[in-house]
Every structure is written in C-alpha cells, then in structure tokens.
C-alpha cells in the first residue's frame, strides 16, 4: 500500500498542469495522423498520395530547436529538431494515439514524429499497471513527449510548395 500519489494527489497534479498548459501558456499545434484505411502503400512501403486524419488542435509545451544549415552536394539544407509535450489527458480526450510517423504542424512548419515517449509517471507508478490490490488508485502516466524533426511539406502532400 502506497502512501503518496493517491487519486486525490493525481487530480491536483492534473488540474494544475491543465490550467498551466491550456490557460496560461496556451501553445497549440495541429496533429495529423495518416489514415491507414485510405492510404495505399506501394511495394516500397511508401505512398506518394497520403490521406490524413486531422489536424486535431492540441495544447502542448513546445521546445523548439535552432535551425541549422548543413552543407551538402545540393547546397545548404535546413534541419530543426523540436519536442512537443502533451498532457496525456488531453491526448486521450482528443482520441489521438501518438506514434512515430505522425505529423505535427506548428507555425505553418511541419514536423515528423521520430520518438514517442510516455515516460513521466507521477511518483513512478502507473495506475493502469497495478500488480497488487490497492495500488490501482496510486500514480498515473502524466505526459506524452514527442521528439520530431522538421520535414518538407511537399514530401507529405499536405501543402504544395513546389509549383
């Protein structure tokens, strides 16, 4: 039987976090998922014609990386990492299941999800995985952190930049 991190503590954590993310900071992004039922892959596991679900508007905390220019044969190319942090409750409410390959749009720039981390647990426990009686009311998974990189919109087929 745990002492800390009961459902009352979790509710307090969640309400403060929600107010902070949604009402105080209020950074927003659009979340795209590839519609698997509509997008037909070819033999190479790719599809030049993709169909998306969304965008779903989500509140988040955004850690924007710097633009970096890498010199190559084709000339300087731009790279930019970005990390998007979502409250898990917001994700579940929006009925979004984050996975690598999803697309996040922020300030008209598109980011490709490389890593999806659900690794912030209140008092280190997740109430969904309680192996002893009484622990199902302690701890919670708190956030989903998605590490992304900047991707050209032409590759996605969402907007057309090359005319």
């Amino acid at each position: 039987m745990a002492i800390f991190g009961s459902s009352r503590d979790i509710t307090t954590f969640r309400s403060i976090s929600k107010e902070l993310v949604n009402d105080v900071i209020s950074q927003q992004c659009g979340y795209y998922k590839v519609s698997l039922s509509d997008t037909v892959p070819n033999i190479y596991g790719e599809s030049p014609k993709k169909f998306y679900i969304g965008p779903v508007l989500l509140n988040c905390l955004i850690e924007r990386g710097d633009f970096s220019f890498d010199q190559g044969d084709f000339g300087p190319d731009v790279k930019r990492p970005a990390t998007f942090r979502f409250l898990k409750e917001d994700i579940m409410t929006a009925n979004v299941h984050p996975e690598p390959g999803d697309i996040i749009m922020y300030n008209e720039v598109y980011y490709h999800a490389d890593n999806v981390n659900e690794n912030q647990l209140i008092v280190g426990k997740d109430s969904d995985y309680s192996y002893s009686t009484g622990l199902e009311n302690f701890g919670a998974s708190y956030s989903v952190v998605i590490v992304c990189h900047y991707i050209s919109p032409d590759a996605l087929g969402i907007t057309q930049q090359r005319l």
Binding site: N42, Y44, E46, P48, F67, F69, Q71, D73, F74, G75, P76, D77, V78, K79, R80, P81, E108, V109, H112, D114, N115, V147, H149, Y150, I151, S152, P153, D154, A155, G157, Q160, Q161, R162, L163
Partner: protein
C-alpha cells in the same frame, strides 16, 4: 588640336627597317622572335596574324566548361526529367554540385520551402575527374603543335557581292578555320538524383539509363559520347532525419579540349584563305574615239 609630331616607333615600324633587302642568309625577316627569346616558345610570324575584326565565329576552343554545359543542356533540355508530385508534374531542377550559398539559397529559392529547406526532387552533377585519353590522336608538341585540323567555311565575307567582282569574274576565295588537334580526355561526373519516393526514382533512372551511350550536348554546339555503367541506390532513414531516397551514378563523357591559351593561338593560325584569282584581259580598240571637245 595639334598632331603629335614625334612618337616612339611601334614594333612593326621598327622591324620594317630590317626588311630591305631580303637576304637568304638572315632568313625571312617576318619571323620575329619574342623578346627576350625564351627557349621553347614558338616563333612569331606576322604573316599568320590575321585580323578577326567583325568576326562572328568563336575562336576555336573547347573548354571544360563547354563539356559541363553539354551535360547541363542534355539534362535540362533533352531529357527534361520530371516527376508527378502532389498531382502536379514537377520538373527536376538541375544543379551543379556545391554551388555558392547566394545562388543555392537566394537565386534558386524555388526548390526550397519558406524556411530554405531543400525540397526533392533534385538532380545534382559535378565533375570529379578528367583523364587524358592517349589512345587517340594528339597534338605532338604543346609548344609548337603542327598537327592541325582544317575546316572550310561555307560563307566568307571576303566574297561578298560587288559589281567589280561580278564584272571581272573574280573567283571566290575559300576561307578555312584552322584548329589544333585537341587533347582527348575522359571526363567523369558524379551525379545524384534525389526524390521523396522510390516510385519516382524508378522513372528517373529509366530515363537516364535510356540516354546512356548516346551523344550528349547541344547539337548546335558540341556533343560528347556518354556512358553510364551503374546506378547505386541509397535509401536511408535515420532517426531525426528525413527519409533519403537517392541514386548515385557516374556519367562518363568522351570529351576533347582545345585551350584558349597563348601557345595555342601563336603556334597555329586560326584563319587561312585560299587563292583568289582576278584576271585582267588586255582590251584594245582600233576604233577612233572622238572625245568631245
């Protein structure tokens, strides 16, 4: 305005004083050696110095740039590579590798998005190697090439119509352009095609491969025999980076070079003219002509 009464003699005026009389012992006085004389430098013959004023022909030289332009021309104007992307046929920009930033980012911004990120498809080529081809003819001596090629021009302004020429049945003279035998070289290019999808890449490889073993270049300028042996597919997808669909191939061109250097122009005349005949017959009249008083 006063005319300058004294001035230093120019080279021709100075040498003219030595011309008379011609003496076999001294040779042709028109052969002027560079001063100071340098071993290995060709002699200078003023008889071969022909004015090219108002000449519209390019001095016969073929440079590396001409070969590069032939490749560029063939990619952009003959092959006209394109892919279908976002329901639009997108022509593929042809760029020379490692260009300056102002050109790549600012002048050619159309293949970049709002944040200057490169957008596929793109084709890059750059010259990697020039090898002498010694199996073909050569100029024998770079200092004094005597192995020349002569091309007859179909039109010469020296044969332009005039009443005098027409009345006197002047035989038109022939005009020849003389060029030294070029250096035959094998030029290799490293080419990279970059697309978003392998499906697009397949079509491009088919097009480029079909053009292998043909003559590349502008038909109105120079054409060079090309060959492509293989295409290496590079498809990678590293974490934090875009999926990379690229295909590398080496383009080999059989080219030739005639430099625009001084020893080439001095050692061989680039323009010679044939003999023009103008025959004046003797016309006599026995009739008495009464001139008006």
């Amino acid at each position: 305005m006063s005319i300058q009464s004294t001035r230093p003699q120019n080279r021709r005026e100075f040498m003219d004083k030595l011309v008379v009389p011609y003496d076999a012992h001294y040779g042709n006085p028109n052969d002027v050696f560079p001063e100071p004389f340098k071993a290995g430098q060709p002699e200078q013959n003023r008889a071969l110095e022909i004015s090219l004023k108002n000449d519209i022909d390019k001095d016969f030289s073929i440079g590396i740039k001409d070969i590069n332009e032939a490749v560029q021309y063939y990619f952009s104007d003959v092959l006209k590579l394109s892919v279908v992307q976002n329901n639009t046929r997108v022509p593929i920009p042809i760029i020379y590798g490692n260009e300056e930033n102002w050109k790549g980012v600012q002048a050619d911004g159309y293949y970049r998005d709002n944040n200057s990120k490169l957008m596929a498809p793109l084709l890059m080529f750059k010259r990697t190697n020039i090898t002498q081809n010694r199996g073909l003819a050569n100029k024998l001596d770079g200092n004094n090439p005597r192995n020349v090629q002569v091309f007859e021009k179909t039109f010469s302004r020296r044969n332009i119509y005039s009443n005098f020429n027409a009345i006197n049945s002047r035989l038109p003279e022939k005009e020849y352009v003389v060029a030294v035998t070029p250096d035959y070289v094998t030029v290799e290019y490293s080419c990279i095609i970059w697309t978003h999808f392998i499906e697009q890449m397949d079509k491009l490889i088919e097009s480029v491969n079909y053009a292998s073993r043909t003559y590349w270049g502008d038909p109105s300028k120079f054409q060079f025999y090309s060959s492509i042996d293989s295409f290496q597919d590079v498809t990678t997808f590293n974490t934090g980076e875009d999926r990379l669909v690229r295909s590398n191939f080496t383009l080999t061109l059989n080219g030739y070079l005639i430099p625009d250097s001084i020893n080439k122009s001095v050692s061989a005349a680039n323009r010679v003219y044939g003999i023009s005949n103008l025959v004046f017959g003797l016309e006599t009249s026995t009739e008495k002509i009464n001139y008006p008083k």
